[in-house]
């Protein structure tokens, strides 16, 4: 298993500001967690960055892991491609503790990547990023004819839908017939 250490730079303790020392709150060392996607590449992410994800935030909020325990137990997201998880982690790091801007221009423009990112972000429950992604998805079809939209968003025609439905019914019928035959065989 390989490992990358994403977000470590943002984990550096902040320099004291102009506030008097006596009034400064005691610094709590930032905790880190580890996640990996389908490619098993582990990403180290600060708890602050992970706060964007309601799913992960909910998972870690009561764990109280030590650094070692966290490292030994990376969160597996087998349903997310490695490069997509990398994008998510990057975004979470870039926007850690910052107000989210109204637009995000760094999102992928290719539809395959964008759709995969949308699915990942929706699964991880990262609300702001999901909104940006959905805006980007909507942007893809601006000024496009229905035929172009169909192509961009891979929307089947009515005929294709009907054919797929027929095929699905046929398959379901065959499966049901197979199950009935198997049940009859068992009974014998």
């Amino acid at each position: 298993m390989s490992s990358t250490e994403q977000g470590t730079s943002s984990a550096a303790p902040a320099e004291p500001t102009t506030a008097p020392e006596s009034a400064a709150a005691p610094e709590v060392p930032e905790s880190f967690y580890y996640v990996h996607g389908k490619d098993k590449v582990v990403h180290k992410v600060s708890a602050g960055a992970l706060q964007h994800s309601a799913l992960i935030h909910g998972m870690i909020s009561n764990l109280g892991y030590t650094e070692e325990q966290a490292k030994a137990n990376p969160f597996p997201f087998e349903n997310i491609d490695g490069d997509i998880l990398q994008m998510v982690v990057d975004w979470c790091n870039q926007h850690k503790g910052k107000p989210t801007p109204p637009e995000d221009t760094n999102l992928p423009k290719q539809k395959e990547k964008l759709f995969d990112l949308v699915l990942a972000v929706n699964y991880l429950e990262i609300k702001e990023l999901l909104t940006y992604c959905c805006k980007q998805v909507a942007m893809m079809v601006k000024g496009k004819s229905p035929e172009e939209i169909r192509e961009i968003w891979m929307i089947p025609t009515d005929a294709e839908d009907e054919a797929a439905e027929k095929e699905a019914k046929k398959r379901a019928g065959k499966e049901a017939a197979g199950e009935t035959a198997a049940a009859a065989g068992d009974a014998k």
Binding site: E112, F115, D116, V118, L119, N122, L130, T131, C134, K135, V137, A138, M139, V141, K142, G143, K144, S145, P146, E147, E148, I149, R150, W153, M154, I155, P156, T157, D158, D161
Partner: protein
């Protein structure tokens, strides 16, 4: 590979929210499944239905105010009758889709040197079906706003607009009220009797035969109001024209009605312009008042006749009158008149302006003369000011 329709419900919901109605309409034409998805997930609230606007075909108007192409028609979603109304789609009818010169179509926009956000590119040969109507068209997008224009061959002329309206009401689950702005001399968009809530006629400097108006009101069943500022007729609408049945009528043009025929009006509120002579108008209005007094018309609320240059002395000839009695009715009439807007032409093009604006409080009835209908005790206040005749009927809800 992920397909749009396979995206989770919430994601599709968010995407739809980021889209304009015009984009959703085009998306819906992709397939029945995507159409169903939009119907289930997308709704525009609030809305007041749709408006179909036809370009003004009066040469004098469109040469000066070339705000909308004369041949262009469009569907708009009425959100609040203000800037929030949304243009959904434009369409045009052409002789042939095969040799369409789009550069010519967009010449006006090119001349204006507008910021071009969308490419001028004709996308041709698109076939789709709405409400069982098979349509073949070409599509282009306005280079500035991205509003799509569909080009149809002329055989679609009579069928398309109302089918589109029906389709959009169903797709966006909006109010089914239809507002329409059209030219009196072009009712080609009205295929068969069509219910229109509010109808506005474009300003035109051409005098038309009143038969044209009669024919239009055979096809356009106006549910609420008809408003027109300038569209003179060479004569008067016929005695049995459906025009007389329109609930609220604002006609500021010559022709249309003769004062002797006003009793034919069976709606609620009317503003008419008349060119009748002073003597005739007094007699006619006197006859109108007598007709109302002897009728069982409980619908009429307000009638305003502009062009009443005569005195009121003979107006009440043979009619019992009285001055305002504060115990019998309020001083000021509360108008339910829907003429809040009329379509006017400004340097900026066609805009909605307040429908009635007299420069004085026309609803003040302190100095009006009252007449009472014996059969039901209904009071009407009648007055004249600045060559305008006013009659207000005090229904019980106003007392």
């Amino acid at each position: 590979m992920v397909k749009f329709l396979s995206l989770p419900y919430l994601v599709k919901d968010l995407v739809f929210k980021e889209m304009e109605p015009r984009e959703l309409l085009l998306l819906s034409l992709c397939s029945k499944r995507v159409q169903k998805s939009i119907k289930q997930q997308f709704r525009i609230e609030p809305n007041k239905g749709f408006r179909i606007t036809c370009g003004n075909n009066s040469p004098e108007s469109y040469k000066i105010y070339r705000y909308q192409d004369v041949d262009e028609k469009r569907l708009e979603l009425i959100v609040d009758h203000k800037e929030n109304d949304k243009k959904v789609i434009n369409w045009k009818y052409v002789n042939s889709l095969d040799n369409l010169d789009l550069l010519k179509e967009f010449k006006f926009l090119n001349d204006l040197n507008v910021k071009k956000m969308f490419d001028i590119e004709l996308k041709s040969g698109f076939i789709f079906e709405i409400n069982g109507l098979r349509c073949r068209c070409s599509i282009s997008f306005d280079p500035e706003s991205g509003i799509p224009t569909l080009y149809f061959e002329k055989n679609m002329m009579k069928k398309w607009p109302m089918e589109l309206h029906k389709y959009c009401v169903d797709l966006f689950r909006t109010n089914s009220d239809l507002e329409m702005i059209m030219n009196l001399n072009d009712s080609s968009d009205l295929h068969e009797p069509q219910t229109i809530k509010d109808l506005y006629l474009h300003t035109s400097f051409e005098n038309l035969n009143p038969k044209i108006a009669d024919e239009v009101f055979e096809k356009a069943i106006v549910q609420n109001s008809l408003t027109l500022i300038k569209q003179d007729l060479e004569g008067y609408v016929s005695d049995d024209s459906k025009f007389w049945k329109i609930p609220n009528v604002l006609v500021r043009s010559k022709g249309w009605v003769h004062t002797r025929d006003l009793f034919r009006f069976t709606g609620k509120n009317a503003y008419f312009f008349t060119m009748s002579g002073p003597r005739s108008i007094t007699q006619d209005m006197n006859a109108f008042l007598k007709h109302w007094l002897s009728s069982d018309n409980t619908t009429l609320e307000t009638i305003i006749v502009c062009g009443y240059f005569s005195s009121t002395e003979d107006l009440f000839d043979g009619i019992q009158t009285s001055r305002w009695d504060p115990e019998k009715r309020p001083a000021r009439y509360v108008s339910n008149t829907p003429f809040k807007r009329s379509l006017s032409y400004t340097a900026a093009g066609s805009v909605f302006l307040p429908g009635l604006n007299f420069g004085f409080d026309y609803l003040d009835c302190t100095n009006a003369i009252d007449i009472v209908r014996e059969s039901d005790g209904l009071i009407a206040s009648v007055k004249r000011r600045d060559s305008i005749f006013f009659m207000f009927v005090w229904h019980s809800k106003l007392l």
